[in-house]
């Protein structure tokens, strides 16, 4: 794998997250019934940061959860390498909530499809909105994000790597070429 460019650095990521937090509050007219659920792994960290920012802006705590979508994948049967099943932790009722689903990269849309199926098993939210740090295009399903940190046009030969403090020790988004 060959690194090509750094797309976002620490400051840019933090500004994107802050802007998305503002947009979420604006679109939902405040924090009533609002909750965020991140997709494992890195979506969870971004979801927690969004909850932090929203608290900073509005002074209200909103519930944050973690969703593992492994058991809902459509490629489970042909998964290259075995996916590790991780914990889903949604410690609150999602019925009638305005739910913001969070992931790091939006690509084919298949992860989001799986996440929607999983969420419906937990209840019936008032609405589900999607927030992603990076949208790299190449959708294979009719899915779009409501909140995007940065649109990055890519080729399918490229890999978008999101590194976050919580899991990787530093904040950055890189684009690399498959070799």
């Amino acid at each position: 794998m060959k690194e090509k460019a750094k797309i976002l650095d620490k400051e840019a990521i933090s500004r994107s997250v802050m802007r998305i937090a503002h947009e979420i509050i604006e679109k939902n007219k405040g924090t009533a019934d609002l909750c965020v659920i991140g997709i494992r792994n890195r979506g969870v960290y971004i979801a927690r940061r969004l909850a932090e920012c929203i608290k900073g802006i509005e002074g209200k705590d909103i519930p944050a959860g973690a969703l593992d979508i492994t058991l809902y994948r459509d490629d489970l049967a042909l998964a290259s390498g075995q996916p590790l099943v991780r914990k889903t932790e949604i410690g609150f009722d999602i019925n009638d909530k305005k739910l913001v689903l969070v992931d790091d990269v939006l690509y084919t849309g298949r992860t989001i499809r799986a996440a929607l199926d999983a969420l419906i098993d937990f209840g019936r939210p008032q609405s589900i909105q999607l927030a992603v740090l990076v949208d790299r295009g190449h959708r294979e399903l009719p899915i779009r994000a409501d909140f995007v940190g940065k649109n990055i046009p890519t080729s399918k030969q490229e890999i978008v790597e999101v590194h976050l403090e919580e899991s990787d020790g530093k904040d950055e988004v890189l684009i690399a070429e498959k070799e």
């Binding site: 998964a79 075995q82 991780r86 999983a118 098993d121 937990f122």
Partner: protein
């Protein structure tokens, strides 16, 4: 860590890492049973067959629920009402189930080694739900899972297994699993119920329950299978309860937070008192709950490994 085995036959055949992966996967599956909709689509379109040559309710129901919560279809075959009565061999029955395009056979059999034999003859997955006196891997896995959940670790724990060690597949699987994960295991039973050379598996033996309990973090109390020798039971049972029964009086003299496990069904007043079985040290019903998560993990992993092969 990848799971590559199409079958689960016994803990003897697993590495500590493989046991760890099952336990870790089970932790994630535990949440599914707490949902209002207790189902995930992971094994949708797969068929699991419960093939039971020995009566069992709890293990069969637990496997059936585990498979159903993964969205697999489940068929139950009780051999008393099947072609086994007409003389069909185990391998033939297995090959017929395979020809029906089932994906997993969950088998309980009264002969030790039956699961190994069936697994070697078939391409589909075989999960051992107890074979003779050999192994009952998912029971030991759920015992270990429960211990780890309650005490946070397995390594270095002092665990006692009390009861009919000689005839117990639960004891054997527990010994393999616990010793592989670094626990210190003591088996405690009347002389005649301790198998010869059991020390070679790395366990200590004793026939003095009060000594054993003094230095123990957890006790796995096995069911006394008196139904094996009918007729002599009653005085023998009373004598066993007096010498080995886990009672409040015995527990009053040892560590206050000692964990009491039992694979069920429990015989109150034979190997355990009602007070202990229902008391604050007992995790017997947690074991039942955890059994589903552990069996979901096992079914998921063997099915995935088989997919990866094809």
């Amino acid at each position: 860590m990848l799971w590559t085995k199409k079958d689960l036959l016994g803990l003897e055949y697993l590495t500590p890492e493989e046991i760890g992966l099952i336990l870790e996967t089970a932790e994630s599956f535990k949440e599914v049973s707490t949902r209002e909709i207790k189902k995930v689509p992971a094994l949708r379109g797969k068929t699991a067959v419960n093939l039971f040559y020995e009566p069992s309710t709890r293990t069969r129901v637990s496997f059936e629920l585990a498979a159903k919560r993964l969205s697999a279809d489940v068929i139950n075959i009780a051999t008393e009402t099947s072609s086994v009565r007409k003389g069909e061999t185990l391998i033939d029955t297995g090959k017929n189930i395979q020809a029906l395009k089932a994906d997993i056979i969950i088998m309980r059999h009264n002969c030790s080694g039956a699961a190994n034999m069936l697994a070697a003859a078939l391409d589909i997955s075989v999960v051992n739900a107890g074979d003779g006196w050999h192994e009952h891997p998912t029971q030991a896995l759920l015992d270990i899972f429960t211990l780890k959940e309650k005490l946070g670790r397995i390594k270095g724990l002092n665990v006692a297994i009390v009861g009919d060690i000689a005839h117990s597949r639960v004891a054997r699987s527990n010994i393999w699993g616990l010793t592989k994960l670094g626990a210190n295991v003591t088996v405690c039973a009347p002389e005649m119920l301790l198998p010869a050379e059991i020390e070679k598996t790395g366990v200590k033996t004793s026939s003095n329950i009060d000594e054993v309990l003094k230095n123990t973090d957890a006790v796995n109390v096995l069911r006394m299978q008196f139904e094996r020798d009918e007729g002599t039971a009653f005085p023998e049972q009373l004598d066993y309860y007096k010498k080995f029964g886990i009672t409040e009086e015995r527990l009053a003299r040892v560590k206050k937070d000692i964990i009491i496990m039992h694979p069920g069904p429990i015989n109150r007043g034979i190997e355990i008192s009602s007070g202990v079985a229902d008391g604050k040290n007992s995790v017997i019903l947690d074991q039942v709950t955890n059994g589903i998560a552990v069996r979901m993990a096992v079914l998921f992993l063997v099915a995935q490994a088989r997919e990866a092969r094809i």
